[in-house]
């Protein structure tokens, strides 16, 4: 189970709301060190183009980020993005994640993250060993702490 500092949850909602402005999807990543994998420590907000119904991460940002991760011994554990309405995983979400490892998590926040800062209405899914995504209970994967 990942330990998620409340400040990261607050930062996540603040970023999703500010970037998406209630009109566009937004995406970010939760990182941890490879030396303490379960302790999430940082939110990364990628450069991206976005609309009400989708987004694309900038190629140059991925390159820069990939180099930084290895230099800082950090890894991406979770992707988080918003939907305009209900939270679910679309075929595009399934097909084009940043990370392809079994165990990688994808959290979808409904209503452009305009609701309260919580996992209410959110959808969490995980890459299985065969590469397929499968919904998993949020409370089984994250422990929020101060």
């Amino acid at each position: 189970m990942y330990r998620l500092p409340r400040r990261m949850l607050d930062e996540t909602f603040a970023t999703l709301r500010c970037c998406g402005a209630g009109e566009r999807e937004c995406k970010l990543y939760w990182l941890s060190s490879w030396r303490d994998l379960d302790q999430l420590v940082e939110v990364a907000h990628p450069e991206h183009d976005s609309s009400r119904y989708g987004l694309t991460i900038h190629d140059k940002w991925i390159t820069k980020f990939w180099n930084e991760l290895v230099d800082r011994e950090m890894g991406v554990r979770v992707q988080v993005h918003t939907h305009p309405g209900a939270a679910f995983h679309s075929p595009t979400d399934d097909a084009f994640p940043l990370i392809h490892d079994a165990g990688f998590l994808s959290l979808v926040i409904p209503d452009f993250a305009q609701g309260e800062v919580s996992f209410g209405g959110a959808y969490l899914t995980e890459i299985q060993r065969d590469g397929r995504w499968q919904q998993v209970p949020i409370e089984a994967k994250f422990s929020v702490h101060e």
Partner: protein
């Protein structure tokens, strides 16, 4: 000369000697690193090896990731090594170089 040898790995052609004269020459492996999600792994390649082969070895080094068709190799400046028939030499990959194993496209919808 020593710098050039270092730059291109052990390359007997660069020094005007045949491959046989230099105990394997062009086919002598040299090490690069491949990175994926913050982990760097060493990979031995040869100058005549094609990029497709390097990609397969990189995928294997990271445990045969699911959906491998979505991943590609890039140089550390972000140029995708698109031509899988191109050799390591043609792609200007040198000893100690870092390659990025990463998805070509990242989207949500």
């Amino acid at each position: 000369m020593a710098d050039r040898q270092q730059e291109f790995g052990d390359d007997s052609d660069e020094r005007g000697r045949s491959d046989d004269e230099h105990g394997g020459g062009r086919d002598k492996p040299f090490e690069i690193e491949v990175v994926y999600n913050g982990i760097a792994k060493p990979l031995e390649v040869t100058k005549d090896e094609v990029i497709g082969s390097v990609l397969q070895k990189a995928l294997a080094a990271f445990g045969n990731l699911p959906q491998p068709h979505t991943l590609a190799l890039y140089d550390s400046d972000g140029n995708e090594l698109k031509n899988e028939q191109q050799t390591v030499h043609e792609a200007k990959i040198k000893k100690g170089d870092r390659l990025l194993l990463r998805p070509s496209t990242v989207k949500a919808g």
